[in-house]
């Protein structure tokens, strides 16, 4: 590498670094259309359940957690690149930076979920229902201990806390990176690398507990200490997939054509391949321990997910979230074709939604799978929310550059080659 003198990057004002106009034009339609589709899906879902809006809220939570995992995955991507002083990723880092700022609209989108806690008993989270313990014959003493953690006030405070931490991290790294677009100071890079260590620690503590609160507590008596990692595994996989897809689309539309090369797709492909297996490793480890121990209080979660329709979904995840993409992204010949990397990324983003759906819906449905209409409503809701966030993200991208144009090591990143 040292023998290649890094080519000088284009000037910061080059149109290759701007959001292409064809994409910028989509931002208003995406925002408005997305919002409508999302609300439509939510409305349809609310119509299905006969259980006081539980199904509708579950569908909404699924969409929100799906978007949240990808936003958090992008935040983690930025943190980890700074932490290890990665040079190769600078050309795609800005995309992740733009996505991670979406944690702010996500905070607003989470308001209905918190509101459901305050507006009624057990609409979404069943532990919120005062009669839950008696209904399920739970020992009073145990339940009282549970409620010390799972109660409206403390849950709300925690959720606000998570968003506060993530917003702080996202804004810190985004603002500094954008400031570097103007000044090109090396000191900014140093500062971001310096703070990335504590930031990663804060990040992992908050995401783990967020996973426990938002998803795991849907089955209040069930617990798995690795659940946070399980959700995170899908999250970071989704982030890499999104980067591959976004880079490909941006290049097709004319931005950063000379900057993101086949080498970067190759690396993203490797990371996708690796994290496909990481996801499998984590989810299987969680299953294996519980399956082997075979204790009723632990098997509850998998019990509903291994029978009937959900058993089928579990098999689909095994074959299409692991085996197929694992075999498909194994070869370097695939990973060195940007179109194929983008296709696998898009495919896995769909699979990741199925994974989140598999985590949330069986707990939440109360025996009501919703039928085809329920699936349509779920898809509408998530497509709407993703479109809304994409629109907002495009708006942010339009006001900024799509590449960190004055990063001191941009040239190194452009010249990056896999051995």
């Amino acid at each position: 590498m040292s023998e290649h003198s890094a080519p000088a990057p284009k000037s910061a004002d080059d149109p290759a670094f701007m959001l292409p106009a064809s994409l910028a034009a989509l931002r208003i339609p995406l925002c408005v259309g997305g919002l409508i589709v999302m609300l439509l899906g939510w409305y349809l879902a609310n119509d299905i359940g006969s259980d006081g809006g539980n199904f509708g809220m579950s569908v909404y939570l699924t969409a929100a957690v799906y978007c949240m995992t990808i936003v958090l995955g992008c935040l983690f991507f930025v943190l980890i690149q700074h932490l290890v002083r990665a040079g190769w990723s600078i050309v795609v880092r800005r995309i992740a930076e733009l996505v991670m700022v979406m944690v702010i609209p996500m905070g607003i989108l989470f308001i209905p979920i918190i509101a459901s806690l305050w507006s009624g008993d057990g609409i979404l989270y069943r532990w919120d229902d005062a009669g839950y313990a008696a209904e399920h014959g739970l020992p009073q003493a145990v339940w009282a201990e549970k409620l010390r953690w799972l109660n409206q006030e403390w849950f709300t405070v925690r959720t606000i806390g998570y968003f506060a931490v993530w917003t702080m991290l996202a804004l810190f790294f985004f603002k500094n990176s954008v400031r570097q677009d103007q000044t090109g100071e090396k000191a900014i890079t140093d500062k971001m690398q310096y703070w990335s260590g504590p930031a990663v620690m804060l990040f992992s503590a908050t995401t783990t507990f967020a996973a426990f609160d938002w998803v795991m507590s849907l089955a209040p008596m069930w617990f798995s200490t690795m659940f946070g990692v399980y959700l995170f595994a899908g999250s970071i996989l989704g982030a890499h997939c999104l980067l591959a897809v976004a880079s490909y689309v941006l290049q097709k539309k004319g931005a950063m054509r000379d900057e993101v090369t086949v080498e970067h797709y190759h690396d993203l492909g490797k990371l996708i391949f690796g994290f496909v297996f990481f996801w499998t490793y984590i989810s299987f480890s969680q299953y294996l321990l519980i399956w082997y121990g075979n204790i009723p209080e632990e098997t509850e979660w998998f019990y509903v997910r291994q029978l009937g329709t959900w058993g089928g979904v579990a098999l689909v995840l095994i074959f299409f979230h692991w085996m197929l993409p694992f075999a498909g992204t194994m070869s370097r010949h695939v990973r060195r074709k940007p179109g194929l990397v983008c296709a696998w990324g898009a495919y896995l983003l769909v699979m990741h939604y199925l994974d989140v759906y598999f985590m949330i819906m069986p707990s939440a449905e109360r025996g009501n799978a919703g039928g085809p209409m329920g699936v349509i409503a779920s898809v509408l809701c998530v497509v709407g929310m993703v479109s809304l966030l994409t629109g907002l993200c495009l708006g942010l991208a339009q006001q900024n550059k799509v590449v960190a144009v004055r990063d001191p090591r941009l040239g190194e990143s452009i010249a990056f080659e896999n051995i």
Partner: protein, 548 residues
């Protein structure tokens, strides 16, 4: 560079203008190839491209660090190593799965943590590990094989100048094995590139003798490594008064519990665990009540409906669970000992059978009033097992273990326990029946009844249903029939082929018996004579003494 071109001109295109002295010296040596030195990556890459374009294929470049694009510049095809790794990895997965499935589900089925014999999730960790292991081996040894390693020396090392390849110089090598290798042509081609050093690679003329100390060290290590083996071998063939040396103490003395031992782990203090109420042990699920009771249940339900119902209930694990829990709630304050008794009652086969036993215990008292239940029960008249050599061998084994201690190995009723009881004149001892009585033959004592007797006991004999599996009890029934037959068999029942061997064996045994009898008689006679003689001598001695 300048020097080279000047020389080239002055020597007028001679092909051996470099290191002429060396060349003449080396003329007789084997030529391995030609190497050229470069000072930068760019000059090296340019030379590589020229060599590639000239059509050479057996080439190699040596650099102090990895250089991007050099494989392309040299025209090296992509390696097949990934395919080797993939193949090895798949082999690893397959090996692990086949091994575990075969071992755990077929060769040695063993219940682990109550999981099915073939439980895929449990096999996954091993499959994962073996995949990684095999893939790593594939990568490591595949790389060696593809690179022709291990190779302890390479002719290019003969040139001291080549040492700088690990520092700041780059080398390009063309092998003489290349199809179009021609020393002059190659040297000219390399000379035309931006190099100022081209050298022919010849055989290493340094000594190929291995230094003596190496042999000494190898010899020493080899000798030392034999010592443990010798110690082991010596211990295999010699005796010692020292206690045995335990390398793995806990493997020689496993902390696991033996049968009938006490354990603090469980409330009832038993290390042996009874079946969990409401469950059936694996392989013991028998839906066939005829098979389990020895009674034709259809016929019984016509004759004695309540008893049939009772039997159905007692053999159904669900009813048993109910009974147990009822019992438990009833006897919460009963002492431990009593509880254990009750437990063994309800475990031991099976309440319906108790009734049978009770009836059979008092046959005489009521015999006149009405016929015994034992006689009215519609017993199965034939063994439900398919009788073959294996079943009979199993019956023989179990008869030997459980029955022979009282009934004797041949069933004549004179087992070791009986011998002992007779010897000490045990008061309450009831001698076990000989199995060779006509009342116990199949026509008078049906197979089903015999099975029921083994299961539930009779008189002093306890029931064995708790100890012997149902299938094995039927095998014992079959073996008892064989024993009975053996006492009354005529030679006509033997097939032609075997008759001769039997007859010859018979005559041999008779001969041996006769010899033994003769020898005994002779010995007795001799003894008598000897005693007589001794007596006589004694008499004589006495007489002599008296006379003295």
């Amino acid at each position: 560079m300048l020097r080279v071109s000047q020389e080239q001109e002055t020597t007028g295109g001679s092909q051996t203008f470099y290191n002429c002295e060396l060349m003449s010296e080396n003329n007789e040596k084997k030529v391995h190839g030609v190497v050229a030195e470069y000072t930068s990556v760019d000059t090296l890459l340019a030379a590589c491209r020229r060599v590639r374009d000239a059509g050479y294929e057996k080439t190699d470049a040596f650099t102090p660090f990895p250089v991007h694009g050099i494989d392309k510049a040299l025209g090296i095809k992509p390696t097949v190593l990934p395919w080797i790794v993939l193949g090895a990895g798949v082999t690893g997965t397959a090996t692990a799965l086949v091994m575990q499935v075969w071992m755990n589900a077929y060769d040695y089925p063993y219940i682990i943590s109550g999981k099915p014999f073939l439980s895929l999730p449990a096999f996954m960790p091993v499959a994962f590990e073996l995949t990684v292991l095999f893939a790593s081996f594939g990568a490591f040894f595949g790389m060696w094989a593809l690179n022709g390693l291990p190779r302890f020396s390479n002719p290019v090392f003969t040139d001291p100048r080549f040492d700088r390849v690990t520092d700041d110089r780059f080398f390009l090598y063309i092998d003489s094995k290349d199809g179009q290798f021609d020393r002059g042509g190659v040297e000219k081609l390399l000379g035309d590139t931006e190099t100022d050093y081209v050298q022919t690679v010849v055989d290493d003329d340094s000594s190929d003798k291995v230094p003596k100390p190496f042999f000494m060290i190898w010899g020493l290590v080899a000798a030392l490594s034999v010592i443990p083996l010798l110690i082991v071998l010596k211990m295999r063939v010699s005796h010692s008064s020292q206690p045995r040396f335990h390398v793995f103490y806990d493997m020689d003395f496993s902390p696991s519990k033996d049968a009938q031992q006490y354990s603090t782990l469980f409330r009832d203090g038993r290390a042996m665990r009874p079946d969990v109420p409401g469950t059936v042990a694996r392989g013991e699920m028998q839906a066939d009540l005829d098979f389990m009771t020895g009674i034709d249940m259809n016929a019984l339900s016509v004759i004695d409906r309540p008893r049939a119902d009772r039997l159905v209930r007692s053999f159904n694990p669900l009813y048993q669970a109910e009974a147990e829990s009822a019992q438990e709630s009833k006897s919460q304050d009963v002492t431990q000992a009593e509880k254990a008794d009750e437990g063994s009652d309800s475990d031991g086969d099976k309440s319906g059978a108790d009734a049978d036993k009770g009836d059979s215990d008092k046959p005489d008292a009521e015999a006149d009033a009405k016929p015994s239940v034992m006689d009215t029960t519609p017993w199965l008249s034939s063994n439900p097992l398919v009788l073959d050599e294996k079943v009979l061998a199993n019956g023989r084994k179990n008869f030997g273990i459980y029955c022979s201690v009282c009934h004797g190995m041949n069933g004549s009723g004179n087992g070791l326990v009986n011998v002992r009881a007779q010897k000490i004149l045990a008061q309450s001892w009831i001698p076990p029946s000989s199995l060779h009585q006509e009342t116990l033959y199949a026509d008078k004592y049906p197979d089903g009844k015999l099975f029921s007797t083994i299961s539930n006991g009779i008189r002093k004999m306890p029931g064995y249903s708790g100890q012997i599996k149902t299938r094995d009890r039927w095998a014992i029934v079959a073996y008892v029939r064989a024993l009975q037959l053996s006492q009354n068999a005529s030679i006509d029942q033997i097939s032609e082929a075997q008759r001769e061997t039997i007859l010859s064996e018979q005559s041999e045994i008779q001969k041996a018996l006769k010899e033994k009898a003769d020898a005994d008689a002779k010995a007795a006679q001799e003894k008598e004579e000897k005693e007589e003689k001794e007596e006589k001598e004694e008499k004589e001695e006495k007489e002599a003494k008296d006379s003295a």
